[in-house]
Amino acid sequence: MTTYVSGIQIAHLIDGQFPDAVADAQPEFAVVKSESLVEVLAWLRDDPDQAYEFLSSLTGVDRIDWFEVAYHIESFQHNRASTIKVRSSDRENPSVPSAVPVWPGAQLQEREAYDLLGINFEGNPDLRRIFLWDGFAGFPLRKDYLNLPGGQMPGLERFPGEPGVELSGRGTE
């Protein structure tokens, strides 16, 4: 069974090695400051006690107030998995360091996050759009990509016809 190392645990471990690097810790993930991200990831990969050598998934999330990039990392030796995050609060031009120097496997996934969310990965050698064409306007996975009439944000706030909640958003009568 894979041991899922909680964010608080891993935050403590990182804190021991890099004081001042952890920004936040939740049960599900630990948030690392973007300036120390690369060295934290490299340490997590190289340290024999951690040995998170496999980057399972890299993806961005638009949290409206900030952008975050989640790194789901795994260790084959210890059969562990954990989640590291990094945040960027710049709404217009979010930017985080690239993980490609640590894991070349992040290359395509960072391109995807850049393409769909507009997160700029500093240090990525080949940051281009991947699914959409060059010159595509905007970044579609951002929550403000479609500004609907009446100031409504896209997305279901509620399911139409679900009892107990008043109709709002895009639900129809």
Partner: protein, 380 residues
Amino acid sequence: MTIKSEPFVVNVGPQHPSTHGVFRLRLTLDGEKIIDADMVMGYLHRSMEKLAEERTYTQNIPFTDRTDYLAAMTGNLAYVMAVEKLMKIEVPERAQFLRTIMAELQRIASHSMAIGIFANDCGAWQTPVMHMFRDREKILDLFEMACGARLTLNYMRIGGVSRDIPDEWMPQAYKLLKELPKRFAEYEDLLLSNEIIVARSRGVGVLTPEQAIAHSVSGPMLRGSGVAWDVRKADPYAAYDKLDFEIAVGTNGDAYDRFVIRLAELRQSLHILEQALDMMPGGPVHERLGTATVQPGGQSIAPLALRPPVGEAYGRIESPRGELGYYIVSDGGPSPFRFHIRSPSFINLTPIKQMAIGTTVADAIVILGSVDIVVGEVDR
């Protein structure tokens, strides 16, 4: 004095018999030798991740069929597992076994295709593919009996599966299990030691384990490089912890290793299926969820609007192509706040450039065939 020919750019795809869909490989050639390779994708991009943010958790299940359309069951499974992890739902045991059985049947179907198409990429004129289709058809028949669909199955539900299998299903499945070993022996005879396939794929597209891990590849590609890693074994989900099976690994990390691993996994899947069918418990196949309402006239008992608690979950399983992960962020609403698919086909393409440079066009096709991509899953 040396004589060099002009660099020559060839687009393999997007309309090409060997890109398995609308995928484009831009090769820069010096004669027949590849000096640069670039991937162009997105021709099948259907913005599933965005669409899913506007649909309920249950409504998103059909999307998971349409990512990896050759292995819809595993797509379903990975997604419902991520949501169950988020909502902390316990799934009834019979449903767990049904999921395992369906996932393994799907693995056989998908690997059959992968092996056949790989032989096609090595230049066989459709014969292996057609033979493999025979088995796949029978598995699809089983799927049809279980859920009424053959390709986009939409069988799994959050909390279980959509419906129990009919009574005739088990005898039919046992019959298939009796047939398959003979077929697999036939394929091994035909393909395993086929000298041309060996000559074409051995030593082609070599990926050392260090490179493989660094490039985040997974599934048969990772195991082909000799890394014994299988999510079914490492992090058993569904009923895999009760079943006995082995992981197939390669020793050379080349295209041939990926191919023999798929062949070996056919037999392992069969072994799992035999045990799972024998051990299948009775009972319900679906957990009744809190807000569940029975749909008028519909068979499904899955609730239409689930509201998982605020949080996030990353569910991963071993799909036929590798580690298939669904990352779901919930804000407490009826639809996911963020819905991300960690698709193995997409990430397995990362080292293509590295593998292709220095080889020939024919090798590049073999390498691409050994990666076994499904463009629906690459572009999503």
